[in-house]
């Protein structure tokens, strides 16, 4: 099938030469099965090799190709060109500083992720020889949907709270904290309590629900945050123990 020429407005910013970001327009021959990422790669390969963007797996797993397409945070590998009408506008993820072109600085996000200890915390680690931590299917079901996060940061770009409070721990990190708090094998609830219940933790969320709307893996971070509010309140009131609570 013949390619169709589509117009892309791509935000460019090269700090060595640009005072501020500006849009550059490209006419891109697109095949019917093109996703926006294919169009960006076509620009880089055949039109303008100086365009910088991140991508890796091309199958919605690695989470590195997130950008704003017509203002909405999406994985560009999962955004079919044919589903957009007219000019397609591509920008880097909002709420992050731009390193260059479509590449953003994710340090703040990674720091927030680490702050909630998104791993299994045990008071005393089992020896390898003592075997694995067992879990029933029902216990897995307790947290499973929150474990599908791929750290793509689309929810950070969508979050209106983060837009005015950059220190907000944010949807993905809180959803992951909640995921481990709900995990029957985990005993790290107390260690996550302070981060989650600080002013920039769960209580900063105004439940706009944008995070859950844009999540490409159908995680529901807004629900996680608001469940974590309930847990935090009960813990604060000592109605629930702060230690090893599930």
């Amino acid at each position: 099938m013949d390619p169709v020429i589509r117009t892309f407005e791509v935000l460019r910013f090269r700090p060595e030469q640009d005072a501020e970001p500006s849009f550059q327009t490209y006419q891109v021959p697109c095949l019917p099965d093109f996703v926006v990422l294919d169009a960006l790669n076509a620009i880089k390969d055949d039109i303008d090799p100086t365009l910088s963007h991140r991508w890796s797996c091309r199958m919605g797993v690695c989470g590195s190709c997130g950008m704003l397409v017509n203002g909405r945070p999406v994985l560009t590998c999962n955004a079919f060109v044919r589903n957009y009408e007219g000019t397609i506008r591509v920008e880097p993820l909002a709420n992050f500083p731009i390193v260059r072109d479509l590449v953003v600085e994710l340090d703040s996000f990674l720091h927030k992720l680490k702050s909630v200890k998104p791993w299994i915390v045990r008071r005393i680690e089992k020896e390898v020889a003592d075997g694995t931590y067992l879990q029933s299917p029902a216990q897995l079901e307790e947290y499973k949907q929150f474990s599908m996060c791929i750290n793509c940061a689309l929810c950070y770009a969508a979050c209106p709270v983060l837009a005015h409070d950059p220190e907000f721990v944010g949807p993905a990190a809180i959803a992951l904290a909640h995921r481990y708090n709900l995990d029957s094998r985990d005993e790290g609830n107390r260690e996550r309590y302070d981060v989650l219940n600080a002013p920039d933790g769960v209580w900063a969320c105004s439940y706009a629900n944008e995070c859950s709307q844009v999540c490409p893996k159908h995680v529901d971070p807004a629900m996680a945050i608001n469940q974590a509010k309930l847990t935090g309140a009960l813990q604060w009131a000592r109605l629930l123990p702060r230690k090893s609570m599930t």
Binding site: K44, D46, P49, T50, S52, H53, V99, V103
Partner: protein, 176 residues
């Protein structure tokens, strides 16, 4: 040495990263520290300078060959010559194509000279598995149950072999 050949190809990449990547990283750090403690920094500095020079020389390349075109032709040659099903003739043809492409790569043109997130230079640096030889349909563990090691050398790749350590799972013919 590695798990390649003892396991399904697609399942090798994660342990490669997580297990062997960590071992390689730890070893590299120990090696570098030992070098620093023995006061042999000069070779490391020289090596770093050579690497910086290699990247700088890429940045300066203004040849007529297009990076994307060489990559596409390399993809096509590898797919045709050494995909999952391969044979002597297709492998030979692929070696020939890759050598030609290496020659053309020397004349590549780089457009992006930026020092910030320069993915064109990264792509240029990137330009270099269990499979089935259809002309050898019978399994030959007597001769080939060993690790094949390819070493980089200035005059072309050097091949050597290492023994396989078999622990719990005995190798057997795949009949499904």
């Amino acid at each position: 040495v590695s798990i390649n050949g003892a396991n399904r190809l697609g399942s090798n990449s994660l342990p490669e990263c997580l297990v062997f990547g960590q071992r390689a990283g730890d070893h590299a750090v120990r090696f570098a520290r030992a070098g620093a403690e023995e006061g042999r920094q000069e070779p490391l500095v020289e090596q770093a300078k050579a690497e910086a020079g290699r990247i700088q020389s890429l940045r300066d390349k203004k040849g007529g060959e297009k990076l994307a075109q060489i990559r596409r032709e390399l993809n096509a040659a590898m797919e045709a010559g050494c995909g999952v099903f391969r044979e002597e003739a297709s492998l030979q043809a692929c070696v020939h194509s890759v050598r030609q492409l290496k020659g053309r790569y020397a004349d590549v043109g780089i457009t992006d000279t930026s020092r910030i997130f320069n993915t064109e230079i990264v792509q240029a640096l990137e330009l270099g598995n269990m499979h089935t030889r259809t002309d050898f349909p019978t399994r030959n563990d007597g001769e080939w149950l060993k690790h094949s090691l390819v070493h980089f050398a200035a005059d072309g790749p050097r091949l050597s072999y290492g023994p396989v350590t078999i622990t719990k799972w005995q190798p057997e013919e795949r009949k499904y």
